[in-house]
Amino acid sequence: MLKDLFGGKSKYVTVERKKRSEEKGNEHKEDSDKKEMPDDLWTKCKSCKQIIFNKKLAKSLKICPECGSYFRLTAAERLSLLVDDEKFEEYDADLQAENPLDFPDYEQKIDKYQEQTGLKEAVITGIGEMNGWQVSLAVIDSRFLMGSMNSVVGEKVTRAIERALEKELPLVIVSGGGGGARMYEGMLSLMQMAKTSAALKRLDQAGGLFISVLTDPTYGGISASFASLGDVNLAEPQAKIGFAGPRVIKQTINRDLPEGFQTAEFLLEHGMIDKVVERADLKDVIARIIDIHKLRGGENNGTE
């Protein structure tokens, strides 16, 4: 499906499906691809209700050709859009959640989402190349328990930050977590906010570059930690971004929320992000930012 979607051979996509096969090969690719989109011919746009053929949708990078509204991307789709052909090595793919609080039904939840998404957890991290620039990457997948942050997500993101620090790579984190800090791991999830922020402080002090990309949806513990801390904060058009969820705010203040509240455009207007970037331009914009920094820093990076 990915191949069809964005025309790239996506070697790394198979990494997440390792658990289904003993070998790390591609044999099961066809099967699991089908699972991702049970009705693989068409999709209904949530915004304009138009029925769109998936081939057409893929060609438009999952942006509705009728009304222009953005569909969410999976982490694998996002990577295939950002990373040069096959130039991605996934790290820490095997890290899995525990149930440290013995929270009711948590294991079942994890199993269910692992099954549904083929991922072990809500983030994919690794090192990839973007227009020839080596980058430490983390991409959150909002399908996995709403892309919420638990111990594993916090750990993987922190390691991605430390990898950037150690290898002197620019760091790009694509956030898309509507769930914030994951309830099932209680305070351990909340503390991942401090953990990731602490790691970012070290990167910051070492002069590292962090580009934060905010996509729909970025809320709570994700927006209130690493997602807001970029040297440059970019966001996709229409993405919903905020601290508190709109329902909670509405209940608290007891009135309707203004039009366009908590969208990327709203955040731009209020000075919270640097730039709203169209999906198709994202990779180039990120690469240009890296390029400008590297010209100044003169570090040994780029096309090897």
Partner: protein, 333 residues
């Protein structure tokens, strides 16, 4: 004591206490000697209090943590400090009344104190926004903490909030960024930071001033990723199940020591901090002085390294993968 503020689970105790008061009054009025009887009842009351408080459910602890008569940040400051001057404003937008701060002295030691401030009655609580801070509150706290760093004063952060305020203005002014920035900067401040949860530790709103070298909780407080009410509403579509959620979330001081999230518990007087402000403040003060003395002996580099590692190691990952984790941590070091 206002009757309507009584805690439900204390009902048998309160009844007993009322009886003692009645008897004492009766004895004085009629000039009859009931001392033995009263003494007997008092012993029973003490035993009952001990019993109740030794077996508190998380939900009951939460009720004590939220008690309107609990000492606030300002109460503790007044009882702990020899001198204190509140400082106002974030220098950008405004002065948040829900998150206060200032400079003072504890036993002649200069300190900076920041903390969420709740009110005690409706009017005061509206002014204090029920202890729910806006971005300008977090930014004021950061300004004062940076100032503390400049003048080499230890920082004390007193946490007592249901959460950061969810409102339009708060979002417009970057609530998420304000909290994130505070956490990030607090990890790098070159002076000792001691965080104490004195009532409610409500999620990101608490953590926004919650990164430190030591994190303590008073005995009857809670610290949680979300309120049990919200948790129950989200998971079970039933906010009445908040009691179940309170248990599941492992939000008590004891639970969080076990999970390695906080360092220690500071005891409260029998029946909770609101029963004896002075005693409660003394216990807090004793701990603060002891810890500050210890932390001030460390070199700055060591202080920061320890603080980093404290948060870096938080979290649980499935055992099978553990070997790998250790390896890569070494690699990253």
């Amino acid at each position: 004591m206002a009757q309507n503020n009584n805690l439900e689970f204390e009902k048998p105790l309160i009844e007993l206490e009322e009886k003692i008061t009645e008897l004492t009054k009766f004895m004085e009025e009629r000039d009859i000697n009931l001392t033995d009887e009263i003494e007997r009842l008092e012993t029973r009351a003490n035993r009952l209090r001990e019993e109740i408080y030794s077996e508190l459910e998380p939900w009951q602890i939460l009720k004590i943590a939220r008690h309107v008569e609990r000492p606030t940040t300002m109460d503790y400051i007044n009882l702990i400090c020899d001198d204190f001057i509140e400082l106002h404003g974030d220098r950008n937008f405004g002065d948040d009344q829900a998150l206060i701060g200032g400079i003072g002295k504890i036993d002649n030691l200069p300190v900076t104190i920041v903390g969420h401030q709740k009110g005690k009655e409706t009017k005061d609580n509206i002014k204090r926004n029920f202890g729910m801070a806006h971005p300008e509150g977090y930014r004021k706290a950061l300004r004062l903490m940076k100032q503390a760093e400049k003048f080499n004063r230890p920082i004390i952060a007193l946490v007592n909030t249901p959460g950061a305020y969810p409102g339009i203005g708060a979002e417009e002014r970057g609530q998420a960024e304000a909290i994130a920035k505070n956490m990030m900067e607090m990890t790098g401040l070159e002076v000792p930071i001691i965080v104490v949860v004195i009532g409610e530790g409500g999620s990101g709103g608490a953590l926004g001033i919650g990164v430190g070298d030591r994190v303590f909780m008073l005995e009857y407080t809670y610290y949680s990723v979300c309120s049990p009410e919200a948790c129950a509403a989200i998971l079970w579509k039933d906010s009445d199940k908040a009691k179940v959620a309170a248990k599941a979330l492992k939000l008590t001081a004891k639970d969080l020591v076990d999970l390695g999230v906080i360092d220690d518990i500071i005891a409260e007087p029998p029946g909770g901090a609101h029963k004896d402000y002075k005693r409660s403040a003394d216990l807090l003060k004793e701990k603060l002085i002891q810890e500050i003395n210890q932390l001030e002996r460390l070199e700055t580099a060591e202080l920061l390294e320890n603080r980093y590692n404290k948060f870096r190691t938080m979290g649980y990952i499935k055992k099978e993968a553990e070997e790998q984790i250790d390896e890569s941590i070494e690699n990253c070091g």
